[in-house]
Symmetry: C2
Subunit: 138 residues, 2 copies
DNA sequence: GGCCAACGGTCTCCAATATAGACCAGGTCT
DNA sequence: AGACCTGGTCTATATTGGAGACCGTTGGCC
């Protein structure tokens, strides 16, 4: 066992909660895998930045998402207690989604990732070009 | 066009860079989609928390990752300039991966998401139970 | 009345992707 | 000699994602 692995092994045990996203069978890993998803992240960021929105507003805002994936991601976020779905019984019924406290917490952590990506995209595209040049044949 | 959509439309134009993860065809969306991935995130967090590691150390540390996905995610991170791959020409050759400055920046934003997930997993599992109870038939 | 669109979805089909597991060459250990 | 470790690649199968049809209700338009 290497030094890093000793550190890893110790890390989990040291925490009172015993939850570890690095462990395949830990419930927190499953939750993590469900949250760390392109569409869920964008939805969360959208609701955080632009406030409560209807289904079709979200679909237009999160450009490129299909109705299927939007429904699926929203259900997942709702089930995990991050987002609230409210049906206003008008004709036609309005369905509005907004963030619950848990969702606002996560959005506050995730939005910086989005902004960072936008800031650093130029550097990453440059790195790609160099990588591809270096790995083209020789 | 709703108030939120006006806000959205204005948001991109207001930024000098014109990069927007919400826009399907923006390069930053493609980069975002590539980074926001279960395995890439865990690898980044692992390298940040436990330091430079070999391929097989990472495979043991990021529990459950297949060699194929580990290779693929590491190549992606390397190509985008987040991670460095160093081959030590010994027998057997040692291959060590470590974070570049770009990778350290992103890891600093992503690790909190992992820690938050561990902290809040309990609440999310509870929310699930309630959701499932409420949506079991009637 | 007839036609079309918007709403918030669901359903089905097909392509792309993830995972499991075999395989590989070179070298070490016993 | 035989088993094992290294850092992968390759293949077969399971899962997932996206495109687009469908749905019932409502509203506008001619």
């Amino acid at each position: 066992m290497t030094t890093q692995e000793q550190a890893r092994a110790g890390a989990g045990a040291a925490q009172a909660q015993e939850l570890d996203v690095f462990a395949q069978l830990c419930p927190s890993r499953a939750v993590f895998a469900e949250l760390v998803d392109k569409w869920s992240m964008l939805i969360l960021m959208g609701l955080d930045e632009f406030g409560p929105q209807r289904f079709s507003e979200l679909q237009r805002g999160v450009d490129g998402v299909s109705r299927k994936m939007l429904t699926q991601s929203l259900r997942s976020l709702e089930r995990n207690g991050l987002v609230r779905r409210t049906v206003h019984p008008e004709t036609p019924p309005r369905v509005v989604y907004d963030l619950l406290p848990l969702g606002r917490e996560l959005a506050a952590l995730v939005s910086p990732v989005g902004r960072w990506t936008e800031e650093r995209t130029g550097q990453m595209l440059a790195a790609r070009e160099e990588f591809d040049r270096a790995h083209a044949d020789g």
